[in-house]
Symmetry: C2
Subunit: 199 residues, 2 copies
Amino acid sequence: MLYTPLLQQLMDALRCLPGVGPKSAQRMSFHLLERKPDAALALAKALEAAVTGVRHCERCRMLTDKLICEICASTRRNDSLLCVVETPADVYAIDSATSFGGKYFVLMGHLSPLDGIGPEELGLRQLESRLDAGDITEMILATNPTVEGEATAHYLAELARVRGIRATRIAHGVPLGGELEFVDGGTLSHAFSGRRDVA
Amino acid sequence: MLYTPLLQQLMDALRCLPGVGPKSAQRMSFHLLERKPDAALALAKALEAAVTGVRHCERCRMLTDKLICEICASTRRNDSLLCVVETPADVYAIDSATSFGGKYFVLMGHLSPLDGIGPEELGLRQLESRLDAGDITEMILATNPTVEGEATAHYLAELARVRGIRATRIAHGVPLGGELEFVDGGTLSHAFSGRRDVA
C-alpha cells in the first residue's frame, strides 16, 4: 500500500535532514500531523525565513541576518586578534567556551584540491586583504585537527609569515577529563612533542 | 554569543521534531543553510501542504488527502473483515507485511481514562454504526500489546459480542528470529498459554 501523496511528499522532504532515514521521516511526519500541526507550520515559516534571510557576513563569512555580522560590527572586540575557523558552528563553540575577545574569519570549509576547493573557494583573497590592512597582529589558526585542517593551517600560516604577522595554532593534546589509556596514538604523540614546562 | 535571530528561530522550530535536541537542531540548521537551501524550501512547502491537505478519512479515520481514503474506497478489498488499529502507522505496517485484504478502522489512540481519552475520542460511535450496518463478519483487534491496548481490545470485543460479530485478537508470543532466552517473561507466558496443536 502506498502512503497518501501529501504524506509521501512530506516524508521524502524530511529525508533532507542529516541523520533522518525512512523510519524517522515516517515517525516525524505522523508526529507533526497528529500532535503538532501548528509547530509544523511554524517550522515551514522558519525554514523559508532562514533560507531567504540568512546570508554570509561580508567581512568574515559568518552566517548573519545583516550585511555585517554582530561580531564584526562590535566595537568592544579586539580588532588585532583574528581567529580563523572552518565553520560557523566553530565560531559558536569557541565563543561560548573560551574568553577569546577578537574577531573571526570563517573559511566555510578547508583546502581540498581533489574536491575543487582551493584558496578562492575559502575566501582567502578576502582574508589576505584583511591581513594587508595592517590591523591584525596575531592570527589564531583554529581549523580542525584533521589532515585537511592541518594543511589549511599551514597554508594560512604562510600567508601570515610573508606579512610579518604572528600566526598561532590552537594546542593539540590529550582532552580534559579523559584517560591516557584511551587516547589515540596520534594525539598522545602530539601531546608529548608539545609538552611545556610546569610553571 | 547569540545566534543570529533567523538561525535561532530555525533551531527552535526544528526542536518540534521528535528526537531532535539542541545539538541536532544546530547541525540540521547549518546543514540546510549551507548545503541544501533548495531542499529546505521544498521541506517548508511539503510541511504546509501536508498540514493543510492531509485529513482523516471520514469512514476509518486514516490519514488521507481525500474525503474517503484509498482503502475504504477500494472495491477490491473485503468489506466483511475489519481490522482495528491504534495509529495510521499500524495500517501501513500491517498492509505491507501481511496479506490482510479487508478494511481498517484507526482509533488514533487507545482508551486512557486518566488522560481523558474515552470511547468518544476514539470514534467508537462511528465504529459501532459500522458494526450495526451488518456487513462485517469479523473484527480483528490489532491494538498494541500494552496494558491500554489490551483494555481497548477488551472493550471493542464486547461491542462485537453484543452484536453477534466474531472478534479476534492478533496472536501474542515469541517473535520470529529471536532467542527464547532473551524473550521477556510476560511474552513467554503468553506464548505458553496460547500454544497450538502442531498441524
